[in-house]
Symmetry: C2
Subunit: 250 residues, 2 copies
DNA sequence: GATAGTGCACTGGTCCGACCAGTAGGCTGC
DNA sequence: GCAGCCTACTGGTCGGACCAGTGCACTATC
């Protein structure tokens, strides 16, 4: 006792050090999207490691969506612009492995969408309002055409709202969670017997939401959007999870 | 025209096929957390590839947080339980690279926290109410001790609320976004001259929120929690971003 | 017989050298 | 000036090798 207290040393793999250095360069802006990394054979010289080690580091960076490499490309791996691809992947994994229920996902969409509407009601531009008009018109036109077209227009509407909220995190999470939800129940929706009636009802609801956004009534838009989403998805959510959804309807 | 329409073939790397197979096994439950993968030398036999390829696949799986390997472990790589570590990593990357502003992050926390309170007001158990009581008491006791202790108690309160919401996605996102926000401004908070006053005010606000949750008044709890977070963080948010935050205060 | 100590078989981490298919850009021939 | 080939290089994969760790069985000891 009283001697110097030594701390356990953590052995750090060589490839991890490489990953760290490259990540740091990207975060700090030294490496920008579009720029190229040196070739693997150059990197093994710069880092003084073997090519296997360089490649393992590149695999990790690629798995994180930071770089992309193509066989035969004489310019080396390309630094990628950030995309929510990895975010979606981890969230999808979470949904499947950790057992996220459809109810939780829909509930989260209600939270995101209503918040987006709340903000959009105050911050939207005229162009965005016009875009929402266009999206609803497309939904109307798509009812007779098919569910895919309707869904595309519906997605466009919600994306515009999310964009109008001015919050990138809301936009990205909206996109990610929606794609998971749609992936889970796309087949059921397409096969629903009351599909057309659901679409028509959804259009009416979207019109009401848009009217509230246009009028600048955020709380109303938020409340209506929650109701819209609830009515549209509740049929696919197990009965036991519905009370939790209704808790968001005030 | 009229002939068979061929689709472009995507060349799939060998290591990607391995990653896919292992991921599929984990998602389907064939491989459960705690189970072990065969050793790399076994895997190269099972997949009929070289060890380098097996290792690159394992690096990707490890980067995604699905497995973990230790040098010398005679049992092979271990399948990991899902943790939001990767989610946090991608979101942190997003925040840094894609330029998420502090305002957006705080705004998102307001959205998450108010929704959690809204749900918690209806779904909370008595045990969770008691936990929140304990957390606030700890906050009170920590004012004189130091900011770290206060922050820990504060985090505990919000975590309990998120848990009481019954939505895992809200819990995880809350945790992730909070750690990013705190990482961005922890030093500023600790150095704020009116730190103690802010803490006392925050405690009062938390008590009001808890009272609303206890009374089952979701909308009130949600509104108060937004106000609480706004008042606590607004001083660190650039003036230009404050109107967007205020848009959430109704 | 229980236990502490030792050795071994095996692990993952790293290195090396090699081959292949694919790409881009320069070069050649027209 | 342009089309087409050639080549030097790329990333993807392979096989073999060595090292430092780890866990377990075996052994010697009490």
């Amino acid at each position: 006792m009283g001697g110097p207290r030594f701390e356990p040393v953590r052995t750090v793999r060589a490839y991890e050090r490489i990953v760290e250095q490259v990540e740091e360069a990207i975060e700090s802006g030294t490496l920008c999207p579009g720029q190229r990394l040196p070739s693997e054979r150059d990197l093994m010289g710069q880092f003084s490691v073997s090519r296997s080690t360089v490649r393992e580091a590149l695999r990790v960076l690629q798995a994180r969506g930071l770089v992309r490499s193509r066989p035969g490309d004489p310019h080396g791996a390309e630094v990628q612009p950030f995309t929510p691809t990895e975010l979606r992947k981890s969230m999808t994994m979470l949904a499947r492995v950790d057992g996220l229920s459809l109810g939780e996902l829909v509930q989260f969409r209600m939270v995101l969408d209503s918040s987006a509407n709340l903000l959009a009601a105050r911050l939207r531009t005229d162009e965005q309002l016009a875009e929402m008009d266009t999206a609803i018109a497309a939904m109307r036109a798509a009812v007779e055409v098919g569910y895919d077209e309707f869904s595309t227009a519906d997605v466009a509407f919600h994306d515009t709202v999310a964009q109008a909220s001015g919050n990138k995190l809301i936009q990205i999470c909206t996109e990610v969670v929606r794609s998971i939800v749609l992936g889970l129940i796309a087949d059921k929706i397409a096969a629903a017997p009351d599909r057309v009636a659901l679409m028509r009802q959804s259009i009416r609801h979207h019109e009401e939401v848009l009217a509230a956004v246009r009028a600048g009534d955020g709380p109303l838009a938020a409340r209506l959007s929650r109701r819209t989403m609830y009515d549209y998805y509740v049929g696919y959510v197990p009965t036991s999870e519905r009370p939790a959804l209704r808790a968001l309807l005030e």
